[in-house]
Point group: C2
Chain length 201, copies 2
C-alpha cells in the first residue's frame, strides 16, 4: 500500500490525498509536522533530500517528491490526465504555472497569516505576494471565462493542483469576490465524485 | 515549422533551443525583449496570458508556455524522456524542483546582477536568494555523487532543465568551486551530441 508523508494543512499534500481518494486507491498517511522541522530530520531527508512534504512511498525505498510530479505519476492512464499529447502538455503548463506563479504567492501568504499567525511580521513581504497572487488569479479567471475546466472539457490534475490553494486563498488575505468564474469553478470541483475537503483524511 | 518566442539571455528559453537543436527539429526564433516589456503587450498576452517567455507556437493559434511543459511536449517518445513510468515521474520531480527551489533563487540572482546590473539595489534580497540557491545546489551535488545524470543512466530533459541556469550560476554570484560533482556533470552535458551554448542560436 502507498504511504503518504503528509502535513494535513498543506495544500500540496492535499492535492495528493484528493487524487488518491478520487482514484479509490487506499493509502497510509504519515503525519510530518513541518512546524517542528520534522521534514528536516536525517530520516526524512533520506526520503526527500529537498526536505519538503508531500512524499509518496511507492515501494520500500522508492520515494517520489514534488506534489505535481506525484499527481502526474498517479493520474497516468486515468480520466484525470488527457490522452492527447497537446492537452497533456497544457496540463503540464498549468502545473508549472501553479508552482511558479501561484503557490509561492498564495500559499506562502496563507502560511504566514493563518499557519504561523505572523501577518504583522510579514506585512511588507505580503504586499508583493498579494500583487503577484492577484495576477495569478486574474490569469485563472480569464481562462475560466472561456472553459469550465483548465484543460479540455473535463476535470484533470490541472484543476486539482490549482484548486488546492485557490479554495483557501482567503486564509492568505485574498478576496475572491471579484473572481466570479473562479468561484463557480471551485463549486464545480467540489461537486466531482468522491471529492473530499482539505481537513478530511 | 515551430516558432519559438524567445529571449536570448533567458535560461528558460535556452532549455527549449537546446532540446530543439539536439532533436534536429528546425524552428524560427522570434526575439521578445522582456527588458522592454515586449512580453506584456496585448499581442503577446494573447499567446501567453501569464506574460512570460518562452512560448512555443506549435501551429497557428496553438501555443504552449512554461519552459518545462515545452520540454515535456518535445521529448515524448524520444531518448530525452524515459519510457518507464517511475523514471518519467522522477524527471517530473526534478523539473518541479528546478522551477520551485532552483530557478527562483539562482536565475533571479543572475537576472538582478548580470542582466539588470543592480547588485547593490538588491543586496539584501540577494542574501536570502543565495542561501536558498546554495541549498538547491547541495541537493544537486548529493544526487550527482550517486549518478552521472539526474534520472536513470542517461541524459534527459531533467538534465537540460537543471543545466540551463546552473552553468551560468556564477553570473548570479554563486561560486561552484565546492561542487565538484556538479562541475563534472556540466562537462558531461556539454559533451552531449549537438550541444549548443546559451549564446548560440
Amino acid at each position: 500500500m502507498y504511504k503518504l508523508y503528509d502535513f494535513l494543512p498543506s495544500g500540496n499534500s492535499y492535492k495528493v490525498r484528493l487524487l488518491l481518494t478520487q482514484l479509490q486507491i487506499p493509502f497510509t498517511r504519515i503525519e510530518v509536522n513541518i512546524l517542528n522541522n520534522e521534514s528536516r530530520t536525517p530520516d526524512f531527508l533520506a526520503k526527500n533530500p529537498n526536505g519538503k512534504i508531500p512524499v509518496l512511498e511507492i515501494a520500500p525505498n522508492q520515494y517520489l517528491a514534488e506534489s505535481n510530479a506525484i499527481l502526474f505519476y498517479l493520474s497516468q492512464n486515468t480520466n484525470y490526465f488527457p490522452s492527447n499529447l497537446f492537452e497533456q502538455s497544457q496540463v503540464m503548463q498549468w502545473l508549472f504555472f501553479e508552482q511558479y506563479s501561484h503557490e509561492p504567492n498564495i500559499a506562502t501568504s496563507r502560511y504566514w497569516i493563518s499557519i504561523l499567525g505572523k501577518e504583522k511580521e510579514y506585512k511588507q513581504a505580503l504586499e508583493q505576494k498579494h500583487i503577484l497572487g492577484y495576477a495569478a488569479l486574474n490569469v485563472m479567471e480569464n481562462r475560466l471565462k472561456k472553459q469550465d475546466f483548465f484543460v479540455g472539457k473535463t476535470y484533470t490534475i490541472a484543476d486539482i493542483a490549482l484548486y488546492a490553494y485557490t479554495h483557501v486563498a482567503e486564509e492568505g488575505g485574498f478576496d475572491l469576490t471579484e473572481f466570479p468564474y473562479i468561484k463557480r469553478w471551485l463549486n464545480r470541483v467540489e461537486s466531482q465524485p468522491r471529492y473530499v475537503s482539505i481537513s478530511n483524511c
